[in-house]
Subunit: 198 residues, 2 copies
């Protein structure tokens, strides 16, 4: 967390999109979340484009820069918002590859113990099956997954304009509400740890 | 299928490992399957190292060579043997990324309608959870998944030697039996299609 000029805490969220294409609805969803975040929340994006495929031999020679960058971005964030399309009844291989790399860091601030939440845009089910697989995976990384309320944006082409702007008012309210609840949840977990440590 | 010099059919299997490291137990498992295959089965490996991360913009410009190669290898195979380690309660991102690319081909001989089977080596459960996720994914690609008998090799470090040779006799028999059953299954599906088409 950072402190603003008035001394209020600023919650740092990291947005990770499982789609690399420029016109991705999931990246657009994270951008909408950024724009709709309350003033005490900053949401930054991490682009997975530069990550190599996970390879234990490559890792043994030292993390590539893109992998170190990902691990650092996760450690510096108070919480993570994962957004992935659904491909073949699961989340994207691009996202899984990133988690496979990131999960090799088990230290303080890593995915282990990190507050995270899942959103998604796509298809008729709004990525329901992708989200279930991602929940399974994030249970093994030991992340603290906020599963409620869910954000499943079906038929995103009806809700975003051609430039990726979220136009649908109801969906904007769902996203804004989700980010507020996730902020409260990150703060609640933080305050519980502090109260137990006191 | 090919025909041998005696005119007998030769079943062509494609082995795809979800691990890229040289000492991978799953790659070693596929090599063992190759060595233990009956004479009428040929098992070739496809190396996923050169695949880029899936990106719809990249795809729109035409498949990279490694992607065309993967799609062609799948079309030319009578059946596919998938072998993946279990990372974070699922199969590897490397494997998912390959399937995300390959699944964009829905034509004859593609993953849609292709006989496939799943094997795996790793950990205490022998990749049980990874295999369940992979079954979910292969149901959406429309592949014909032979789920029985299962091959789940727990504690592979006790069964392979330092050079990746499968030394455990019981495990060798499990693999050999699985490949024979998969061959019979590929032939059975082929003969059913022919009989219906006749």
């Amino acid at each position: 967390m950072e402190y603003t000029s008035r001394g209020a805490k600023k919650i740092r969220l990291l947005g990770i999109s499982g789609s690399l294409r420029r016109g991705s609805y999931n990246t657009a969803l994270l951008r909408a979340a950024e724009a709709l975040s309350p003033q005490d929340v900053g949401l930054e994006m991490f682009d997975l484009s530069d990550l190599p495929l996970y390879n234990g031999d490559l890792e043994a020679g030292g993390d590539p820069v893109s992998v170190s960058d990902l691990k650092r971005a996760i450690r510096e964030a108070d919480g993570i918002v994962f957004a992935s399309p659904e491909y073949n009844h699961s989340f994207s291989g691009v996202m899984k590859n990133a988690i496979d790399w990131a999960s090799r860091d088990r230290g303080p601030g890593s995915l282990a113990g990190k507050p995270v939440t899942i959103v998604g845009a796509g298809g008729m089910s709004g990525t329901a099956r992708a989200q279930m697989h991602l929940e399974n995976v994030l249970s093994e990384t030991g992340s603290l997954v906020m599963t409620k309320p869910g954000v499943l944006i079906a038929n995103p082409w009806d809700r975003f304009d051609a430039d990726g702007r979220l136009e649908d008012e109801g969906t904007r309210e769902v996203i804004a509400d989700h980010i507020r609840k996730f902020r409260d949840w990150v703060l609640d977990i933080g305050s519980r740890s502090q109260s137990l440590a006191a």
